[in-house]
């Protein structure tokens, strides 16, 4: 019998893996991949809570739909920024993007 805690442990592990990916990568697209993994972990969490604790209405699923929409919008704008930085500076490594540093 799979209980709620199993899904929550899976979501927490996936979130921590996504966080590690976002903290540790040099390539900006790699960092964005980590952010997507974190958002998916949160989606699993919300769907699990909706299924086990509050199945009378589907607010959790609706929340997941909105998170997916916002993730898609944010990723498209983020990748457009990466492309436009690459077009001028010919680099996509986060270590080279240091013009705002002192």
């Amino acid at each position: 019998m799979i209980v709620l805690e199993d899904y929550l442990i899976l979501a927490a592990a996936l979130f921590c893996l996504g966080l590690y990916c976002a903290l540790v990568k040099k390539n900006v697209v790699g960092i964005l991949m980590g952010i997507e993994i974190m958002l998916n972990a949160v989606n699993i969490n919300l769907a699990a809570f909706n299924r086990f604790i509050a199945p009378q209405n589907l607010v959790g699923h609706l929340f997941v739909v909105f998170i997916t929409v916002v993730a898609a919008a944010e990723l498209s704008v983020g990748l457009a920024i990466v492309l436009s930085i690459y077009r001028y500076h010919k680099t996509s490594s986060a270590d080279d993007l240091d013009w705002l540093k002192w």
Binding site: H61, V65, V70, A72
Partner: protein, 168 residues
Amino acid sequence: MNLTIVLFYIISLIVLVSAVYVIFSTNIIHSALYLVLTFIGVACVFILLSADFLAVAQILIYVGAISVLLVFSVMLTIRGEDIQKTNPFNQYKFSSGLVVLIFFLFILRILLLSSFAPSNIAFPQNTVVGIANLMLNQYILPFEISGILLLVALVGAITLGKGINKPK
């Protein structure tokens, strides 16, 4: 040994192992492909949670659009360097590993010590009707705002992708 339990462990193993491969493969194309496998695994977790609309929406949006977008942007931002080294680690490899491990143990402790009261109400068979009822009656304002958000993101991405023509 129930089939659902076996399937849950297999699918969660697939999800976690492919997320580990996303992190630890230094070839960014391999990383993107393992990310696609992670998304498919998450869709299977949604099916285990009786969230049929979410599973199909996950496959359509994440695997079908977002992964393709990631692979396109990877294709446009590598410069002919060695592709096996396009996704390296930065200098915080071990210290952030320690921080993330402590964070995970902290979440695990809170999770295992809290008692959730599962409810016995039957889950609806068709989740699309329930989501649509909520989305168009009670949550109509976030629905419309998310439409505007998508429009703004579309215009912004096109403007940034077009570039600026510098006056000669």
